[in-house]
């Protein structure tokens, strides 16, 4: 049993320590909002927060999480997250929606640290999140709009 803190709860995970956090979250903890896309930190669909920082959960072993606090799309909360999710919905950003948990986790982490991101900041923060539907133009608009609302 491995003890982790996920979405504010202490949980015991019946997994071997080398299991990627992604599969522990999905297959053991049954939180399916975090997605598998590549297994190689190339697509960002598996992005979660570890102590507020975005990480690729497919490249983080569950045994290495230790006392770090994990947040997934199901547990992300607060003013920034709520604003991002509201704007994402209002602008109809998602198409298939599969990558959007990861996009939102990256966008929330960006806006937590930078309330006035430029296009180049958005590109840098979200470059690791592939969207094969190419919803990028709306993602960029949504991040700017969320930033504007958070400033207001």
């Amino acid at each position: 049993m491995i003890k982790v803190n996920i979405n504010g709860q202490d949980r015991e995970v019946d997994a071997e320590p080398d299991m990627p956090l992604l599969w522990a979250i999905r297959d053991v903890l049954n939180l399916t909002g975090t997605k598998f896309g590549c297994g190689l930190a190339q697509c960002g669909a598996c992005t979660v927060h570890l102590d507020g920082q975005p990480i690729r959960s497919c490249q983080t072993a569950i045994g290495d999480v230790g006392a770090g606090r994990i947040t997934t799309i199901e547990g992300v909360s607060g003013k920034v997250a709520e604003t991002v999710q509201a704007v994402w919905t209002e602008l109809d950003v998602p198409q298939c929606g599969y990558c959007q948990s990861g996009q939102i986790m990256s966008a929330v982490a960006l806006l937590e640290q930078n309330r006035k991101p430029q296009d180049s900041d958005i590109d840098e923060a979200l470059s690791g999140n592939l969207c094969r539907c190419a919803t990028y133009a709306r993602i960029r608009s949504a991040v700017h709009e969320a930033a504007r609302r958070l400033e207001a």
Binding site: A15, E16, M19, P20, W23, R26, D27, V28, N30, L31, T32, G33, T34, K35, F36, G37, C38, G39, L40, Q42, C43, A45, T72, I73, E74, Q85, W88, T89, E90, D92, V93, P94, Q95, C96, G97, Y98, C99, Q100, S101, I104, I122, D123, E124, L126, S127, N129, L130, C131, R132, C133, A134, T135, Y136, A137, R138, I139, R140
Partner: protein
């Protein structure tokens, strides 16, 4: 999918079904008769959805007011579910907050694609709204009439005095009832013989840009469920070891070392490889690495993709094996022309590379096989599932899941991963449900690519610079040959999908020859978003730019000259040019290119604007897009599909390529196969040409013009013509 194909499809059906409207009502009526057990439901679903409802098969209203619409069309991100819900609700007047859409299946009379003559249920060729346009509005309208009639009978008032809004029937006396309250009484009524639809002027939802997708929220909080998210009691997860080369088969395998992996269940041979089964994905992946497989490669494709393309280029210089179009005398006109332009284009294999790697779940309970998956061709998958399981299609229950991108990859003639899931569950003696989950590498190396092609082009200009001849020889694999659609799509040696966009080149040129040489290769190929037009539009539209330059004409002006007989093309092109400010020079450091293409019944014109931020770099700054897709049911979703289509088109042209070395696919993941990322995405402006025509395609038509518009802009910046794709293969700006 393709007009010619559907004409063939629909001809025999037309004699038995006088009109689409009657087909819809007939299905509704049979739904009334067969109200119980008409549609499959799992036990959990059955509880949740309350009683089976007589408005089957299209719409059910539960006791709690929740409305479920059963979609004939598959949702892969393109917004088909939302489009169908919009059509229903324009007529039904329900409350959007109550509406959900799920995939229907197993009733070809109700769900057959009307753009294909209703012969089969399936999603493709950007036909979802064309097929649904009357069917789902009629379903919504018929249901609303029956609810109104039920209220009028209960209240003893004329039906003309009751009105409906937001899921409530009301009467001026103050009486009101919710749809849920009326549904039992309504279900006892006869389906109306005639169902008038609202006139265009009365629409409150169709064509309204402010109407938002009902499913966006579930896609921002992680709650939307995809096939990868299916979890059943006792379910195992399987990872597949596929052959290293297309056409290889298993000689033997050894899984003895895998037995040490915690959670390993079994390794079983299936028709295309070995399924490694475990308690969860991580155990399956670890066990897979310990299974060794010996392959028989005698019949496998062993060539390099580069050699395949060399063979195509050689053939492109010879006479075409088949004629797709022959107007006038192109060869004679070329011989007599004052100036002849020649160019050869090379297009690579392309992977769909959707973010959700292919997957499916199979489970057998009490003689019923259930399959969860991205069922883009449900009838076929139900049939194939039944064949593998040794049962009949009526014993196969499908769960049509939303899918994490499709782009054509979930519509396959052999059911692909769906068959693998059923085969694996069967090999385990149906002892437990099995999810087959492909890895990214399985997906990337799994074939079904956009075929590689070579185009040899020639154009002849007379001494006044007028284009008098056009010749286009296309060389590559056929998508349709050897499939169920061969009889409809392949005529006189010409696979329609190989030449669409080229054989119907719209420009007014007196002598046109379009030839096709279909080549054999052991690489499995498939439709890929926008299919033939992904290469034909690039060859046609960039080569026409060369003609414009040779003729000393503005590329927009020349196109307009040659499109005199194509008013939709002209209107889209003029709108794009106007919105892009084509009549004024591009800003300092900006360069523009134009392209226009018709595909799937829609016409799209795009103007790309680029800069060269540093030597060797191309930045796509802006794309202005004008689209005529008939009536735009959800204008904001048409815009979204154009935005996404442009990103998808640019992505392939800039940097996507599948290559083979000695028959093995070189690319495995997104590090070597590189779809567009956010920093490469331009600003996109979409303008919709006003139209009162029936809806045509939106999911695919945004793709074809993006690449050639970009290439034509790059030429303006660099004076280099890019004829070998992708750009990343050797081109520097």
């Amino acid at each position: 999918m393709y007009p010619k194909l559907f004409d063939t499809f629909s001809a025999p059906l037309a004699s038995v079904k006088p009109s689409r409207r009657s087909l819809v009502l007939g299905a509704l009526a049979s739904g009334l008769v067969l109200s119980v057990g008409f549609r499959w439901q799992s036990s959990a679903q059955a509880q949740e959805a309350a009683k089976p409802h007589p408005f089957n098969p299209y719409i059910s209203i539960a006791a709690d007011g929740k409305i479920t619409i059963y979609s004939s069309q598959f949702e892969m991100g393109q917004g088909a579910y939302f489009g169908i819900a919009t059509l229903v609700n324009e007529e039904l007047d329900a409350d959007w907050a109550q509406i959900n859409v799920v995939g229907g299946f197993g009733d070809v009379a109700a769900f057959g694609n009307l753009a294909w003559g209703g012969a089969a249920q399936g999603t493709g060729g950007s036909t979802s709204m064309t097929s649904s346009w009357e069917r789902y509005r009629t379903a919504g309208a018929a249901l609303r009439m029956m609810l109104a009639e039920a209220a009028s009978k209960a209240w003893g008032v004329p039906v003309s005095e009751v009105s409906t809004a937001r899921g409530i029937v009301s009467h001026p006396s103050g009486k009101t009832a919710t749809y849920a309250e009326l549904v039992t009484a309504a279900s006892a009524l006869l389906v109306p013989a005639t169902v008038p639809l609202k006139p265009r002027t009365a629409w409150t939802q169709i064509g309204k840009a402010g109407l938002k997708r009902y499913d966006s929220r579930m896609k921002t909080d992680g709650s939307a469920q995809f096939t990868i998210d299916v979890k059943l009691p006792g379910m195992a997860t399987a990872v597949i070891i596929h052959p290293p080369k297309f056409g290889a088969t298993v000689a033997s395998f050894d899984a003895s070392k895998a037995k040490d992996v915690k959670g390993f269940v079994d390794a079983v041979q299936i028709s295309r490889g070995v399924a490694v089964v475990a308690e969860n994905m991580w155990s399956a992946l670890k066990a897979r690495d310990l299974v060794s497989v010996a392959w028989i490669e005698d019949k496998a494709e062993q060539r390099n993709s580069a050699d395949i393309l060399v063979a195509y280029e050689t053939q492109s210089k010879a006479a075409p094996l088949a004629v797709a179009r022959n107007d006038g005398d192109a060869a004679g006109a070329l011989a007599a022309a004052g100036k002849v332009l020649e160019a050869s284009f090379s297009f690579p294999y392309l992977a769909h590379a959707a973010l959700e790697p292919l997957n499916a779940v199979a489970s057998m309970t009490d003689g019923t096989l259930e399959i969860w998956g991205g069922h883009q061709m449900p009838d076929l998958y139900q049939y194939i599932g039944s064949q593998i399981a040794g049962t009949t299609p009526d014993k196969v229950k499908l769960h049509v899941m939303k899918t994490g991108g499709g782009f054509g990859r979930r519509a396959v003639f052999d059911a692909d991963v769906v068959a693998e899931a059923v085969e694996t569950a069967k090999a385990l003696a149906w002892s437990r449900p099995v999810k087959v989950q492909w890895t990214r590498e399985n997906d990337m190396r799994g074939g079904r690519y956009r075929p590689a092609y070579v185009h040899a082009m020639k154009a002849g200009l007379d001494k006044d610079g007028k284009i008098i001849a056009w010749s286009n020889h296309i060389v590559g694999q056929s998508i349709m040959s050897g499939t169920l659609f061969e009889g409809m799509a392949v005529k006189n040696g010409v696979d329609f999908t190989s030449v669409e966009g080229a054989a119907n080149v719209p420009y007014d040129i007196p002598n046109v020859a379009v030839g096709l040489s279909t080549m054999q290769a052991g690489v499995p190929v498939l439709w890929w978003r926008a299919v033939g037009s992904t290469h034909t539009a690039y060859a046609v539209e960039t080569f026409l730019d060369e003609v414009a330059e040779a003729a000393g004409k503005d590329p927009v002006a020349l196109r307009l000259e040659l499109l005199d007989k194509h008013p939709r093309h002209m209107a889209a092109l003029k709108l794009a040019a106007e919105k892009a400010g084509w009549d004024k020079p591009a800003a300092e450091g900006r360069f523009r290119g134009v392209a226009v293409a018709e595909s799937f019944g829609s016409v799209v014109a795009q103007i790309a604007e680029i800069s060269i931020p540093s030597p060797g770099q191309i930045k796509v700054e802006r794309v202005v897009c004008a689209v005529d897709c008939g009536t735009a049911i959800n204008p904001d979703q048409v815009a979204a599909q154009m935005e996404g289509g442009i990103g998808f088109g640019l992505s392939s042209i800039l940097g996507e390529e599948i290559t083979l070395t000695a028959g093995a696919v070189d690319q495995g993941n997104y590090d070597s196969y590189t779809p567009l990322r956010i920093e490469q995405m331009p600003k996109v402006e979409v303008h919709i040409v006003p139209s009162e025509g029936p809806p045509t395609g939106a999911g695919e038509p945004g793709v074809p013009p993006a690449g050639p518009a970009l290439a034509n802009a790059v030429y303006q910046a660099t004076r280099k013509r890019i004829r070998t794709l992708p750009f990343s293969k050797g081109f520097t700006a």
